[in-house]
Symmetry: C2
Subunit: 231 residues, 2 copies
C-alpha cells in the first residue's frame, strides 16, 4: 500500500495543487494508496524524506518527494499499469507542461487564493503560510486578496495555450487524459476547493474539460468538497 | 519533390518563423524539397491553396497550408521516416507547445522585430507588412522598435518554462530533437535573421540549446545568414 503524505487542513480539506497531481496519477495507475495529512508548519513529520516539502510518497522501500519525481517513479515502477506519459516523447513534453504550470499558472493564481487557504488553517499553520506567501509575493495576504480579480484575469490569460489546444482535442494528452492533464487541472482543483468565486468564465472551453477531469475515476476529484470561506 | 512556398524578401532572406518550422520538419524527415519565395503582398501567387497564408507545401496531389497541418501531414504521409512527434501522446502535447509559441512567444517578440523585417522588404511588401502589424499591435512600427527592449524582456520571461525544461533534458523532445523543438526555435531563428541585437542573454541555457538546433542537419538553419539592418 502506497502512502501519500500531503498538506491537510485541520478541517479535513486536502487542498494542495501538487498533491492533486499525485492523487490523479495514482488513480490513473490504478494503485491502492492511503493519504496522510501533514500540517504546513510540521517539518518534523516529513523529516524521514530528507527534505521539507510535500507531497511525498512511501512506496515499499522507496521514499520520493516532488510531484514530478513521484510521477516518474510511478511510471517506471508500474510499467504495466496505464501509462502517464505515453512514451519517452510524451514524458519529455510533459516536463514542459509541468514547468508551465509551476512557473506561469501557479504564480498567477496563488495571490488570489492565498488568504482563502490561510482561513482554512489553524492559527499556527496560517501564520506559517502567511510568512511564506508574503515573502514570495512582497505583499500582505490582504493586499493579494484585494487584487484577486487581476490575479484571476492573469491566470485566465496564462491558460490561453491550453484553451487553444482543447479546441482541437478532448484532453491535453490527446483522446484520453494523461499526466499533463493532471498537472494542468491541479491549479483549477486548488481554486475549486479554496476560492470563493469561479476562476473560469462560464463559456470557457477549459471549464468543460475541467468537468471531464472531475468526472474521472467515478468523480474522484469532485468528491473533495469546496471549502471556500466567503467574504 | 515537395515544394515549399514561403515568405521571401527581395534580397533573398527566408525569414518566416513559421516556414522554419516546416523547413526543419522536412529535414528531420529527410525529404527532398525545394523552396519557392512568395512576396508578403502577393496573394495571387498562393491562390491555388485556397487561402492566403504561407507556408504551404505541395506534395504530389496534396496542397497543405499552416505549419502545424503540414507537420501532421508529413508524419502521416511518411511514417517510416524519423517521427516528428514520437507517437500520439507526443503529437497531442506538441500541439500545446505550438499554441504556446503562437500565442505567447510570437506576440511577445513580434513588436521587437517588425520594423527590422520591414526594412528588408521592398516598398510594396513593407507597406503591406506595416499595415498588418500596426493593426495587430495598435502602434506604429517605429513605436514598436523604440520599445524593443521591453518586448525582448517579455519574450525572455515567456521562455521561462522552456528554460527550466532544458536544464533537465537536452531537447524539448527529450534526448533528441522533435517537432516541438523546431516550433520553439522558430522565433529565435526569426530574431537571429532579422533582429540587430541578441534576444537571449549570454548565459541563457536556451542559447546553448539554440546552438545545438542550428548545428542540426549539417548546420542547415545556421546557413541562413543574419540580415539585420542596424540602427
Amino acid at each position: 500500500m502506497i502512502i501519500l503524505y500531503e498538506l491537510g487542513a485541520a478541517g479535513g480539506a486536502r487542498y494542495s495543487a501538487f498533491s492533486w497531481r499525485t492523487r490523479m496519477a495514482l488513480m490513473h495507475k490504478g494503485l491502492a494508496f492511503e493519504t496522510h495529512p501533514v500540517r504546513v508548519a510540521d517539518k518534523a513529520a516529513i523529516a524521514f524524506s530528507g527534505q521539507g516539502k510535500v507531497p511525498i510518497i512511501r512506496d515499499g522501500a522507496h521514499v520520493i518527494s516532488d510531484s514530478w519525481n513521484i510521477a516518474e517513479h510511478l511510471e517506471t515502477a508500474y510499467p504495466d499499469a496505464p501509462s502517464l506519459f505515453g512514451g519517452p516523447s510524451g514524458l519529455a513534453l510533459s516536463r514542459f507542461v509541468n514547468a508551465v504550470a509551476d512557473r506561469q499558472l501557479m504564480p498567477a493564481l496563488a495571490p488570489a487564493c492565498a488568504l482563502s487557504v490561510a482561513r482554512m488553517l489553524d492559527a499556527g499553520d496560517a501564520a506559517y503560510l502567511r510568512a511564506v506567501f508574503e515573502k514570495a509575493f512582497g505583499r500582505t495576504l490582504e493586499e493579494m486578496h484585494a487584487g484577486r480579480e487581476a490575479s484571476v484575469k492573469a491566470f485566465r490569460r496564462a491558460l490561453d495555450p491550453l484553451r487553444a489546444t482543447l479546441r482541437r482535442q478532448a484532453f491535453l494528452g490527446g483522446a484520453a487524459p494523461a499526466y499533463a492533464d493532471y498537472v494542468m487541472m491541479s491549479p483549477l482543483q486548488w481554486a475549486r476547493i479554496v476560492h470563493a468565486e469561479p476562476v473560469l468564465e462560464a463559456d470557457d472551453t477549459i471549464g468543460a474539460w475541467f468537468e471531464r477531469m472531475l468526472d474521472l475515476f467515478q468523480g474522484y476529484a469532485r468528491a473533495e468538497p469546496a471549502r471556500a470561506v466567503h467574504g
